[in-house]
Symmetry: C2
Subunit: 424 residues, 2 copies
């Protein structure tokens, strides 16, 4: 029998994540060099710390280590997060923190808590695909706002908001990734952060701040002061802040956290009860051991230097191979280079050629809620080894040149989609 | 600022799980003996197997062990589940299986996939609170069907269905816990299972079959043949089957699975992508190691004997302390005794006295979607040690007698709520 008639309206509009789809595609290509997923580099995972901690936790001395736990999270971890957050400028009470099964769950729970079908969510153009999916799955209406070199365009944001209000639309929140945004790598400037908070207060809008990369600045171009979360200066309690250990410890331990006003955390607790009862007890204890052992502090410099070097490797390869053809904003942290192709070149067509050459990336359109971005693509430099980055960019360069040649030969051309993310 | 105006309609109707609330309450009571949560006994967790496996998995030899993984699950685990399911009579392809972060996530994802606000879900009276919450959170309308000694009343089910159809309501699925149901401990008879499948085919209804306890039959009163899942005989592909390692290995490893038609699994994969990206990689590998090491087979008899003995301890204590006052259906497996109080006695009032005497349980109303069950309560014998069961039931007996005396003295009485779960 066919199941179609049993699916909910939400199920009928669910779309596969472009990043996940790339993963499935890539698994069938031999010798693939993938710049698609934003995976941290496993050589940086704190294997020794975790192995020693696991041996202790699995001794059986503490039966709770493998039992169901509190929905809000493992209490010592919630407490330790307080210190971690304070180092980033965020002061919070125990009751304002909750552990989630990865930040993706945090986004999903926040979406379910705040969005009714048809509500408007404001997002950056482009923005993180996982957030797009989570918001789409509760049938939100996503409206994009362009970015400038130091972040979201506040004038455009305000104009969009006023237009929506005039149309009688209800804007539920503004979703931001202020630090080394996925996919652009952009960093919102400190002055702009202050103005965003003022704007949110004036227009009475909630801000959902997603901050997985804040600790991963590149020392040659940014410092901890540059990544101060909006939440740190949220005097009116309208910012819901998400962060995670996925990029700084290991994503296989599905552990992240949300900091929000107590009333929001209480509701998050309720919706999480029915979503997965609790986050894994062993995972939470392993993260707690790593955090209290100071791994994030002692290893932080190594992580930052490591990803900075990979960025340099990829930027040099890009400059060498296709520096005459493509542009990208220089990221000051994070995992991504956001590349704009020559005008008229379509990233989908380039991807087809790239996959034939055993190299992959994510096409930019996946990150745009307005259908634009055809001439953009996201490259992750975080996971591949240095020599693989060099080889992969060489392959990509050949794919791009082939596509240009094919267009010249065939006279094909597609209109420049005019994304407003700065090039260069 | 107050956040209320920002919450979604769904958030406004979310309710705390009575079981979770009992957990929070109990944490503040000294020397509490809790019969509230359906926790497995940690002495049965395979600590040694898991410790050895963790040491190997965290050696760093396989970087994927702590990396993001496929949304559908760790491939070797999905493969191993095939064998496990086949031992229960369920034949399935790889594409018909998906790993979830506990069965609670499975219920939540199924709910989001199949339910539009206002859709009717048919459930047993009483039924599992976690399912009630998951279905409520997508704004389903829950309609209960009474149970008889060997399971849901099919005549009542059909009458209810026909009535709803006549009213123009859309019934999305029937939710069942056929084996040692939470909370009643009831087992649906084999003939009734066959008739349920026939009924579902005739009325074209989907069945969601939740089976966490199927392996935990009591050898003195049931065998593996008695727990054959409906899914094993689902020739038309309308059963969505959920099971879990939470009760047989350890719930701290948030690993469960759904078996369903491929079209459903594809949609589950989509909605899970945005719900938590993937289930924990370490957890899945630990479960895979335990399963392929044969822990479920070699330890199965020990688990069954262990819980059977605890059931006996609790039944004897109940008979000794309050056998003249309460009744319960004899469970043939699982974790629960479902107790009916003397007519007119209210379980909430008993709970108040019980907590003063440092013993807790879950009041029956939490499991009824029709507001009934005031004179019922659920006792879990699975976790407390034998002597604690004896002591706890003695305390409960005193609380019940005190409440009876108080009612006689004060002339208070509440009407018998007339639950249709059999007593005895």
């Amino acid at each position: 029998m066919t199941f179609d008639r049993f699916f909910s309206s939400a199920a009928l509009v669910m779309r596969e994540s472009a990043i996940r789809r790339m993963g499935a595609l890539g698994a069938r290509i031999p010798d693939l060099i993938s710049f698609a997923p934003g995976y941290p580099d496993p050589v940086l995972f704190p294997w020794d710390t975790l192995r020693v901690a696991a041996a202790d936790l699995l001794s059986g001395a503490d039966p709770a280590a493998l039992q169901y736990g509190a929905t809000r999270g493992y209490r010592p971890l919630i407490e330790a997060l307080g210190t971690l957050l304070e180092a980033r400028g965020i002061r919070s009470t125990f009751e304002e923190r909750i552990v989630t099964s990865g930040s993706q769950q945090g986004l999903d729970l926040v979406a379910r808590l705040l969005i009714d079908p048809g509500d408007v969510i404001l997002v950056e153009l482009p923005t993180y695909t996982g957030a797009i999916s989570a918001f789409n799955n509760v049938r939100a209406s996503l409206v994009g706002v362009p970015q400038e070199a130091d972040g979201i365009d506040i004038d455009a944001l305000d104009r969009t908001f006023e237009r929506l209000r005039a149309e009688g639309r209800r804007v539920r929140f503004l979703y931001l990734v202020p630090n080394f945004q996925n996919p652009t790598g952009l960093l919102i400037g400190l002055d702009r952060r202050r103005r965003l908070l003022e704007w949110a207060d004036r227009q009475d809008v909630v801000i959902v701040e997603d901050d997985p990369y804040g600790d991963l600045y590149f020392p040659d171009s940014a410092g901890p002061a540059d990544t101060r979360p909006l939440k740190a200066d949220d005097t009116s309690g309208r910012v819901i802040y998400l962060s995670s250990s996925s990029k700084t410890l290991a994503p296989g331990l599905r552990t992240a956290w949300v900091v929000a006003p107590e009333a929001v955390v209480q509701k998050l607790d309720l919706v999480k009860q029915a979503a997965d009862i609790c986050t894994g007890g062993l995972d939470q204890r392993l993260v707690h051991r790593a955090v209290t052992a100071g791994v994030l502090v002692t290893e932080g410099d190594r992580l930052r230097a490591h990803y900075q070097r990979k960025r340099t490797v990829m930027e040099r390869a890009l400059a060498r191979e296709i520096g005459d053809l493509v542009t990208w904003p220089a990221p000051r942290g994070g995992f991504f280079l956001w590349v704009t192709l020559p005008a008229g070149l379509d990233a989908d067509a380039v991807l087809t050629r790239a996959l034939q050459a055993s190299v992959s990336f994510v096409t930019g359109t996946a990150f745009f809620v307005d259908g634009s971005g055809q001439d953009t693509l996201r490259l992750s430099f975080s996971q591949p080894a240095d020599d693989r980055i060099d080889e992969g960019i060489a392959r990509l360069g050949r794919a791009i040149r082939e596509e240009i040649d094919a267009q010249l030969a065939g006279g094909r051309s597609s209109a420049d989609s005019g994304t407003s993310v700065p090039r260069g």
